[in-house]
């Protein structure tokens, strides 16, 4: 195990920021700490780095308990959200800083910096100052600076938060390649579930200081541990059903809800893919109208309105859409293939889940 957290908690004054978090990261893994802001993910990262001290619990790096080890001795590379480059130093001096502190010989420093400049594609920028660089270049300098002293772990705080959408996409791919090449244990914090899904080997999901789930992108998408994860990862249609005569109802939709008594409330969720559509009005049980189609590149997202006013989201490829001859305003029939019972009424949920009482349908954020 490269990093291990055991029952780690952190309070700021009386405010708990992280609650008894346990997880471990294997050597060479690329792990995302994902969650909404205020979820505690950055605090976890900073505790691993030593910039914050845990109120309780133990942190291990390569089997060594590092709670009482100072930041300087932990041998971690930390990339700050806004890079925190030394403004008064040029690119070369920024990258060389950690090596100078470690009293490397000038010749060795020069070689190592040149190596990192090459690796990160910063050739020709060695003499520039941070304010003379673009956002993407600054980020690469920050990563080079963190990598220079050969850390045992690389920690990145919202690494793609401060750059534009296009560069962001390129940087993601680039981080994956860099990680692949260095095979260095890497943790990064993000609030963007797409980013976490795309980049990481495993995702650790936080909400309100609690660890909600840890797993591969596929696991957290297909087997979400709870409603928070289900709604946070990807898009989910969420319905609140009232059980009548043994089945759950929301508008005209009826779902079997085994084990629930009459008048109980049940929350269910299903992915847009589970909503199947046919242009033949008698093909499926329910009828709806296509209210709006969103083009997302290869995929399309459809907003469907049922006669009762319920809104559902569906998803299909461009080809399917064309084959079914669909368009906005067209009447269709639909069915919901599979769904998941999320939680009973009044069960405690994460902060994003407190929804107005009267609306019976929520559409998840995300993709």
């Amino acid at each position: 195990m490269s990093i291990e957290l055991k029952n780690v908690s952190k309070n700021f004054g009386n405010v708990p920021a992280v609650n008894r978090v346990n997880f471990s990261v294997r050597e060479g893994e690329l792990v995302a700490l994902l969650g909404p802001s205020g979820g505690g993910k950055t605090t976890v990262l900073r505790m691993i780095s030593g910039l914050e001290t845990p109120t309780d619990g133990d942190i291990f790096i390569r089997g060594e308990r590092i709670n009482d080890l100072k930041v300087q001795k932990r041998n971690i590379g930390f990339v700050f959200q806004n890079y925190a480059l030394f403004q008064n130093m040029n690119v070369f001096k920024n990258i060389a800083f950690g090596l100078k502190i470690k009293k490397w010989r000038p010749g060795k420093i020069k070689n190592r910096v040149a190596e990192l400049v090459r690796l990160l594609g910063l050739e020709g920028l060695e003499k520039r100052y941070p304010h003379q660089l673009s956002g993407g270049q600054r980020q690469r300098v920050a990563i080079a600076r963190a990598l220079a002293p050969k850390p045992s772990v690389l920690l990145l705080d919202e690494p793609f938060g401060a750059v534009g959408a296009k560069i962001r996409q390129e940087l993601r791919e680039w981080l994956v390649r860099l990680h692949h090449d260095l095979n260095l244990t890497t943790l990064f914090v993000t609030h963007d579930q797409e980013e976490a899904m795309e980049v990481s080997n495993r995702i650790v999901i936080f909400s309100r200081g609690y660890l909600e789930q840890i797993g591969t992108p596929r696991e957290v998408y297909e087997q979400p541990a709870n409603e928070f994860v289900a709604r946070f990862i990807g898009v989910m249609n969420v319905l609140e059903l009232t059980v009548e005569k043994g089945v759950g109802r929301a508008g005209e939709l009826v779902f079997p809800t085994p084990g629930y008594a009459d008048n109980e409330k049940v929350r269910i969720g299903f992915r847009p893919f589970a909503v199947q559509i046919s242009p033949d009005l008698n093909h499926y049980r329910y009828q709806a109208i296509i209210r709006q189609t969103y083009f997302l590149g290869v995929m399309l997202r459809l907003e469907l309105q049922l006669p009762s006013g319920l809104l559902l989201r569906s998803r299909m490829t461009k080809e399917e859409y064309a084959a079914l001859a669909l368009y906005d305003g067209r009447k269709v029939s639909l069915q919901i293939r599979n769904y998941r019972i999320l939680a009973k009424e009044h069960e405690p949920l994460g902060p994003e889940l407190t929804m107005p009482e009267k609306t019976s349908l929520y559409i998840g954020e995300g993709i």
Binding site: S49, G50, L51, V71, Q72, K73, R74, N75, I76, G77, F78, F80, N82, A84, L85, F86, Q87, N88, M89, N90, F97, G98, I101, K102, E115, L116, R118, L119, L120, G121, L122, E123, G124, L125, E126, K127, R128, Y129, Q132, G136, R145, A146, L147, P149, K150, P151, S152, I167, E170, E173, W174, R177, L178, H180, D181, L182, N183, L184
Partner: protein, 314 residues
């Protein structure tokens, strides 16, 4: 119809300008007002000092400056500045650091106290020390018994100067330290730097310009302070006269050319510090420019081949 066409044409002449820009007339009016003020109230009087200083020829000028009492005044002024400026730098850094980077009880009190010398008249400042350390003051008898002279002596002058120059360095540093935050310092820590190394290599350079500016202001005031120093100095010619006091004394003795000569020297010291600052700024700008002139790397944004370069595993 004609009106429409006309207004459209008028519009097109200003179309290239941004909406936020003022008209040419307003622009030049503002520039002229600012320049006029600067010339009439700053430049002309300053130039006049030099004109008056040389009004009786170079010989009088030089003899005024090389007069034994003038030389003593210059020495004392330099001594006072040499002691009070470094002390203020240390205090200013400590206070700015504390206010910008820590939260503690009494922080706002400290912040207000720093400004106290700005709001208290220098004469009152001088008087405070007289009341404390003068013969009739609280510590006066004790000091006299131990043969320590503060008032009407050099230590009193230094104390008074320290008081009036107190805010300059801290006031320049606090806003810049607050705005840079502490991320750069944290980055240095993660790279293995000790607190001391972080201070010298990261914190101090990042506030360099504010510090230089603060030192210049502090130095100008330390050399030029009249009111507070006048109260505590005792005006002993050749002993406790600083340059401003010497100027006043010469002027009151109707030696106006000599007075202006010393005044011109004082003005030149101020100008010199400004020149030093400008040169430093210019050098920094050139350094940036040279760095910028390096060729932009060609090719794609991303490093061409990550596969060919392989770093040693730690």
């Amino acid at each position: 119809m004609a009106g429409y066409v006309k207004s459209k044409r008028l519009g097109s002449t200003t179309a290239s300008k941004r909406g936020t820009e003022e008209s040419v007339f307003v622009k030049w009016l503002l520039i002229c007002v600012a320049l006029l003020f600067a010339v009439v109230f700053l430049l002309l009087p300053l130039a006049n000092v030099f004109v008056q200083a040389f009004s009786k020829g170079l010989k009088v000028y030089i003899s005024a400056l090389t007069h034994e009492d003038s030389r003593a005044a210059i020495r004392l002024t330099l001594l006072v500045a040499a002691i009070s400026v470094p002390l203020n730098v240390v205090f200013g850094l400590a206070a700015a650091w504390a206010i910008a980077k820590f939260d503690f009880r009494g922080k706002s009190l400290l912040n207000t106290l720093i400004d106290l010398p700005f709001s208290v008249s220098p004469v009152v400042a001088g008087l405070m020390y007289v009341l404390l350390f003068g013969l009739q003051g609280h510590f006066g008898r004790w000091l006299d018994e131990h043969n320590i002279k503060i008032i009407f002596a050099v230590p009193g002058i230094i104390l008074a100067t320290l008081f009036v120059t107190f805010p300059f360095v801290a006031r320049e540093l606090i806003p810049i330290m607050q705005s840079t935050g502490s991320e750069q310092e944290q980055a240095a820590l993660t790279l293995g730097a000790s607190g001391w190394q972080t201070f010298w290599r990261v914190t101090l350079p990042s506030v360099k310009w504010a510090l230089i500016y603060g030192v210049i202001l502090c130095n100008a005031r330390a050399m030029g302070e009249f009111g507070a120093v006048s109260v505590v100095s005792g005006h002993i010619t050749g002993e406790t006269d600083t340059m401003p006091l010497r100027v006043e004394k010469l002027y009151n003795e109707y030696q106006s050319a000599a007075a202006f000569a010393v005044a011109s020297l004082l003005a030149m010291l101020a100008l010199l510090t400004l020149i030093i600052k400008t040169v430093l700024e210019w050098k920094q700008a050139r350094e940036y420019e040279r760095a910028q002139r390096n060729p932009e790397p060609r090719g794609p944004l991303l490093p061409p081949s990550l596969q060919t370069t392989r770093l040693e595993r730690p």
